[in-house]
Amino acid sequence: MMKLNPNVPEGSIAEKWSNHKFSMKLVNPANKRKFDIIVVGTGLAGASACATLGELGYKVKAFTYHDSPRRAHSIAAQGGINAAKNYQNDADSVYRLFYDTVKGGDFRSREANVYRLAEVSNNIIDQCVAQGVPFAREYGGTLANRSFGGAQVSRTFYARGETGQQLLLGAYGSLNRQIHLGNVEMYNRREMLDLVLVDGVAKGIVVRNLLTGELERHSAQAVVLATGGYVNVFFLSTNAMNSNATASWRAHKRGAAFANPCYTQIHPTCLPVHGEAQSKLVLMSESLRNDGRIWVSKKVDDKRTANQIPEEERDYYLERRYPAFGNLVPRDVASRNAKYVCDEGRGVKGGRAVYLDFSDAFNRIGKDGVKDRYGNLFDMYQNITGEDPYEVPMMIYPAPHYSMGGLWVDYNLMSNIPGLFVLGEANFSDHGANRLGASALMQGLADGYFVIPYTIGNYLATAKPEKVDPDSTEFKATEKNVQEDIKKLLSVNGKQTVDEIHKKLGMILIDKVGMSREEKGLSQAIKDIKELREEFWTDVKVVGKGEELNQTLERASRVADFLELGELMAKDALNRNESCGGHFREEYQTPEGEALRRDDEYAYVAAWEYIKPGEWNLEKENLEFTNVKLATRSYK
C-alpha cells in the first residue's frame, strides 16, 4: 500500500514557503556538481528547471522527443501569464491571486501549493523581463496588463497572442546558455519509455532514440518529469500531435500515484470539426468572448445560414441563462452549455457548432476597432476555415485543452516515489478541478524556476542518493521490459491502423467522459474501453521495425498507454459522485442546472495506485480549506 504524505510545512499560509526554504537542507556549492539530475521534457517547466539547476551547478541531462527543445507545446499558449504585481493599482495581491485560483479550481486544490504559486508569480515576470522577453508595454514604457476570466483585477502579462512562445523562447535561451557552458547535456529525439527504480527509489530512465530505434539507459540521482498533459487521449484536442501521457503513465505503472485523472478542461472557443480527416482542434483565445456574442437558432435543425436567421429567432443562450456574466462565464460553464444546445439539435445547421457573432461590436466600435483587438485571431480563423468573420459570424465548439489531473506530488513536487519529481501540467498540483486562463504558464515557470531548485536540493542533501551504474541489473531488466513491449506491438499484425483505434477511443471519451458525465455512461465507457484495449492488442497493425525511425510505432506505444489511462479517467469520474469544475455529473446539479459539489464526502484528491491493467487502488488525500472559505461558485 502506498503512502501519501503531502508534507505541507507548518505555519500560517503566508509563512509556509519562507519557513520551508529556511528549514530545508542545502547542498554545498562544491558538491552540487557531484549530483546528476535527469529532466524529461523541455517545455516551460522542463526548460526552466534545466536552466536553473544548471546555473546552480548540478549536472543535468535533458531529454525531449522533439528535434529541438524549442518545439515543446508550451510554445502554442496564446493569452498570457498571471502575476500579482498590482501594477494596475486595482487592489491585486498575492492573497487575491491565491484566492481566485483556489475558487476558480472549485475548491479541489491544495491551498499551500496554490499560495506558493501566487507568491512566486511576481519573480517570474521579473525573471522573464531580464531574459529579454518582449512583453506588451504601455506608451510610458511600463508593462501592460489585460483581464482574463475568473478574476476582477487586471493581472495578465502578455506578448500579443504569442505569450507562450515568448516565455518558452526565454527559457530555451537560458537552457541553451547552460548547454553552452557544459552544465546541461541535451538529448533531442529521445522518448522516455520507462522509469528505473532501485529499491523503490527513482534512479534513471530508459529512452528510445527516435532516429535509430536504439534503447538507451540513463542513470541519475533524481528524475524530474515535465512531460505535459494528457488530453490527446481524446484524439481530437488542442494539444500538439505528439503530446502524450507515456512518460507519466510508465512512471504510474512503476508506482507513482495518478491524481484526479477525470479533471480535464474543455475549452469553449475552438474551431469546430471539419470532417473525418481532422487531425487536431485549434483554439481561439477566449478573449474573443469579451466582444463576441454566442448564439444558436431557436429552432431545431435550422438549415438557414446565420445571416438568414432574423434577430428574434436567435437564442443568445449564455446571456439568457447567466444575465450577470453573460458570454463571460467560466470555461466549463460555457462549454457545457454549447454541448446542450447542440444536443438539442440547435447547433449551426443542426450540427456541432455555435455562432460567435461580432455584429454588435462592429456597430459599437467599428470593424477597425474589432480588428485592433482581434485582428490576428480573425486572420487565423479565415485562414483555417476559408470564411471571412467580418462578414459571417464565426463558428466555434468546445475542445479538450488541458488536464488538471496528473501525477500526485507533495508540497516539494516529489511524487510518492522517492527521487521522482513532477512539474507543470504533468502534475496535479495547483488548478484543482478547473484551471483559470493564464495560469498554466505561471505554474510551469514557478515549478521550474522557483520551486524545484530548492526542493530537489533538500532531497539530495537529506536522502543522499547513491549513483547507480546504468549497466546494473535493474537498468537492464527495465530495458528488457521496454524491448518486449515494442516487440509485442510490432507482432500483433492485425487490420486496424493505430489512428483508427485512437479515434474510437476518442469517441468513447468525448461522448461519455467529456463535458458531462453520468453513472450509466461512465460504466459503459469502462466496459467499452476494456474491449477496445483488447481489440488493440489483437487487431492493431504497426508497420516497420523497432530498430529504425518508425513514427507508427511511436504513436502505437502512446495509444497503448492512452487505452489504459482512458479507463482510469472514467473510473475516477464514476467514483466522484459530485460535480466540480471540469467534472460535471448530470446526477449532481442544482435546480438551476449548475455544478453541485459535495464537500462533506469529496473534498479530497483521488490518488490512484496501479495494481495491474484495469485494476487500481484508491488513496485519498483530504483537502482542508482553512484560508479560503468553501462556497458555491455562482455566475448568475
Binding site: 529541438s68 523581463v129 531574459q131 514604457g141 500531435m241 531548485p453 508497420v543 513514427q551
Partner: protein
C-alpha cells in the same frame, strides 16, 4: 463543410536515409478542401499503413503555425504557395482539382535529410546555444518595471522574436544562409536594454556558429523574407550586419588594448 472533394496527383519525395538515393513516389489522393496539407498526408499514411506499407516520414507538432516543426517544400516553395503561412496552415482549398503537387523536404547543405521529408535542423540550435540569450542567472532580476522600455522598441523586438525557427529562410536561400534567423535573435536583444551588455559578443558568437554549421552567406536576394511564415523583415539582417561591423571594430580595439 463541403462534399466537393479534390483529386490530386501527389509526387512525394521518398528517401530511406541520408545516404540513400531519393525519388518521387506518386499517389492519387482524394482530399477534402477543408483539410490541411498535413491532414492529407495523414490520410495517405493511413492508407499505406492499412496496406502494410511504410508510411511517409514527415514531422509536425502544434499544427497551429507556431512550433516550427513542420516545413515542406510544396510546389517548389518552402511552406507552399501562400505567403506568411506555415505548412500546417496550408489548406487544400488553395489547390485545384487534378492539380499535380510536388512535396519535398527543405533542401540545404546545413539540413541533411534524415528520412523522406524529415531533415536535421540541429544547426539552428547550435547557433542559439552560441549566444541567443542574456547571461543572467535565475533569481537576480530587478523588478520588471525598474527598466522602462518604449512601446515602439518592445513591439519591434517582438516582431523579431516571433521567429519560429522552422528554417524556411535557409531552405529558400540559394546560399543556405541563416542570416534572417540570426538577425531576428540578434535584433530582439539589440533593441532591448537587457541585451546591451553582451550585444557585440553575441553577434560575433552567433555569426561564427552559423559559419561553423555549414550555413552560407547572404547575397541580399530577400528570398528568406518572402518565404518566412512569420513575415520576419529583412531589416533584421541590416541590423545584424551593422552590429557585426561594430563588433569587429570593438574587438579589434579590445585586442589592441590587450597587446
Amino acid at each position: 463543410m463541403s462534399d466537393n472533394h479534390l483529386t490530386l496527383k501527389l509526387k512525394i519525395w521518398r528517401q530511406e536515409n541520408r545516404n540513400a538515393k531519393g525519388y518521387f513516389e506518386e499517389f492519387n489522393q482524394k482530399v477534402s478542401p477543408e483539410s490541411s496539407i498535413l491532414e492529407m498526408l495523414d490520410e495517405v499514411n493511413n492508407l499505406l499503413e492499412a496496406q502494410g506499407k511504410t508510411p511517409i516520414a514527415f514531422e509536425s507538432d502544434c499544427r497551429e503555425g507556431i512550433c516550427g516543426t513542420c516545413g515542406l517544400v510544396v510546389g517548389g516553395r518552402p511552406h507552399g504557395p501562400l505567403s506568411k503561412t506555415a505548412t500546417c496552415q496550408l489548406h487544400m482549398r488553395n489547390f485545384k482539382d487534378h492539380e499535380t503537387l510536388y512535396i519535398e523536404p527543405f533542401r540545404a547543405a546545413a539540413f541533411p535529410i534524415i528520412k523522406d521529408l524529415i531533415v536535421d535542423r540541429s544547426g539552428l540550435d547550435k547557433i542559439q546555444q552560441a549566444g541567443g540569450y542574456t547571461s543572467f542567472n535565475t533569481g537576480s532580476a530587478p523588478d520588471a518595471n525598474a527598466v522602462l522600455i518604449s512601446k515602439e522598441k518592445a513591439d519591434l523586438a517582438l516582431d523579431a522574436a516571433e521567429c519560429i525557427g522552422c528554417g524556411a529562410c535557409v531552405a529558400a536561400c540559394k546560399n543556405s544562409s541563416a542570416v534572417l534567423f540570426v538577425g531576428a535573435k540578434v535584433s530582439q536583444f539589440a533593441l532591448l536594454p537587457q541585451g546591451q551588455p553582451e550585444r557585440y559578443e553575441r553577434v560575433e558568437a552567433m555569426v561564427k556558429a552559423m559559419d561553423d554549421n555549414f550555413f552560407g552567406s547572404c547575397t541580399n536576394t530577400y528570398a528568406c523574407e518572402a518565404e518566412c511564415p512569420q513575415g520576419i523583415s529583412v531589416s533584421n539582417i541590416a541590423r545584424l550586419n551593422s552590429d557585426y561591423l561594430k563588433a569587429n571594430l570593438v574587438s579589434s580595439v579590445t585586442h589592441q588594448d590587450v597587446k
